[in-house]
Amino acid sequence: MTQAGRPVPTFTTAMLASWLFFASVPLWIERVGLYQYLGVEILIFATYALAFNLVLGHAGLPSFGHGAFFGIGAYAFGLAQFNVVANLWLCLAAATLAAALSGALVAAFISHRRGIYYALMTIAFGQIFWFIAIKAHAITGGEDGLLKIARLPASLGVAAFDLKDNVALYYFVLVVFMGVSLLLWRLVHSPFGRIVKAIKQNETRARFVGYDVWRYKAAVLVISAALSGLAGALFAMAQTSAFPDVMSLHYSGYVVMMTLVGGGLVSFWGPVIGAGAFFLARDVIGALTTGWMLWFGLLFVVLVLFKPEGLAGMFASLTKRERKTAPAGAGRAQPQAGE
């Protein structure tokens, strides 16, 4: 019997396991010598990297200016709470919307491009937004940034949760992360997601079977930008401020590194692994030497050279080898949990 058309489960073991794992982090993170705020950072960047990977890994569109959307989300969150209304939900919505609109603007210019031209255009747009953030002093505070952004309470009508404490914020970010990962999981397995995947493999063929390729490429960028903006808003809350440096080219490069190191090209959860690895490397190697980026960069080079599938790919081939040595029948080939 063919597996054709078999529905993809909404919840998978890998998904529930990763949620449970993250839910347990605040219970032990201080006991292993780390600190609660690190968990917040990792989860925010995991959300960001998942959103970014929709463009890079899933649609095959090399974007090197994604920091712009993350940063715009952060600024929009702050500006909305200063100038419009200090309500968490409305400010998060404003951040998502602002990033989506900037994504739509960029998409209008670049969706007819592909490959290196697409990449160069994203860098150019990223630089433009970064430059604006630095120069528009009256709005963004320039290089000083936007300070005193409040961690607004999460009000649910009947109850309100104060997020000033890092553990409380961590659990709030976890809920957002769960929502975003569930949404993206459904998206990549939906008709829309499969069409985007087809376009990645063969744009020409996709056009000749009747798809308006550029619309799909534009839509993917807008969705990714919106979710990156949401992550940016969370980051503004975490830092209680917003700075232009997250919009710079090298910050945009970090999310590319996280995604590739983790294995975003082969695995849905790769970017999450990559975000964790990045911040752990920063803190663990960073405790030994200020040049931690040198070592992380070397790891990146080695991975790209020898295992372009990243950490998730390494893990997949390890478990595959184990399955091969397991007694026959015990390891019936399962569809890749990561895919």
């Binding site: 054709a4 058309g5 069409i195 063969n202 009747g210």
Partner: protein, 247 residues
């Protein structure tokens, strides 16, 4: 009136004239062939007819509609499908998904970002039926890149068929196939003949002469002869050119 007509197509790349005064007509339900030597402009002609290039002059009509200069996707949605000389498949997809993604039913759900991709039983059945027609039903779960060359040629046609075309353009479907593969492909094309209008570019004279109702010969960007296989055999132009080998 013919289902598909091209009137007086001209196309130049820089100062090179690639198509000159090309007029073609493909009758509904018939199998038409296009032949000619390498570099004669056959594939370029296909590219103009299916919207990849815009002609400098001339008109393309499908089903009475002027489709000159429309985008490939717009022309595809009207019911014109094509295969490619250099194979273009969705390599990482399974054989099933290559076909399923090209079905109009999938395309109509293109805005659905939350639902299951191929959940409707009707869609699965349709895709498996098409695979059955090209002889790939038992390979439905294989990755497209794992197929043999001949099977990939068949899948290439299956993807085009999935668009539910009224008109099917096949660009050198036997390129690179051995005699076995050619025979199998000829069988497949014979099965499709009469079910839909087919236009084939082909180098293999035997293949084309045994299948086609009418054949157009393109050389130096022009149509130099047109007719049934029997008429072409008697044509002095064809005979004196290096295409004369066919006798």
């Amino acid at each position: 009136m013919a289902l598909f007509e091209a009137h007086d197509l001209h196309l130049r790349f820089g100062d090179r004239v690639v198509l000159e005064n090309v007029s073609l007509a493909f009758e509904a339900g018939k199998l038409s062939g296009i032949m000619g030597p390498n570099g004669a402009g056959k594939t370029t002609c296909f590219n103009v007819l299916t919207g990849r290039y815009k002609p400098d002059r001339g008109r393309v009509l499908f089903d009475g509609q002027d489709i000159t200069g429309r985008s490939p996707q717009a022309i595809a949605r009207l019911g014109v499908a094509r295969s490619f000389q250099l194979m273009t498949l969705f390599d990482e997809f399974t054989v099933f998904e290559n076909v399923a993604i090209a079905l109009p039913a999938t395309r109509q759900r293109g805005r659905d970002g939350l639902g299951q991709a191929y959940a409707e039983p009707a869609l699965v059945t349709e895709a498996l039926d098409i695979l059955d027609r090209v002889g790939l039903a038992d390979r439905a779960d294989a990755e497209a890149k794992s197929l043999s060359y001949g099977a990939r040629r068949a899948l290439e046609i299956a993807v085009a068929l999935a668009c539910r075309p009224k008109l099917l353009f096949l660009d050198e479907p036997t390129a690179g196939l051995g005699s076995d593969g050619r025979a199998r492909l000829a069988d497949l094309v014979r099965k499709l003949k009469g079910l839909l209008t087919i236009v084939i570019i082909e180098h293999d004279m035997q293949f084309l002469f045994s299948l086609a109702d009418t054949i157009s010969v393109i050389h130096w960007g022009q149509v130099i002869a047109q007719g049934t296989p029997a008429e072409l055999r008697a044509n002095p132009w064809v005979e004196t050119s290096n295409l004369g080998r066919l006798n």
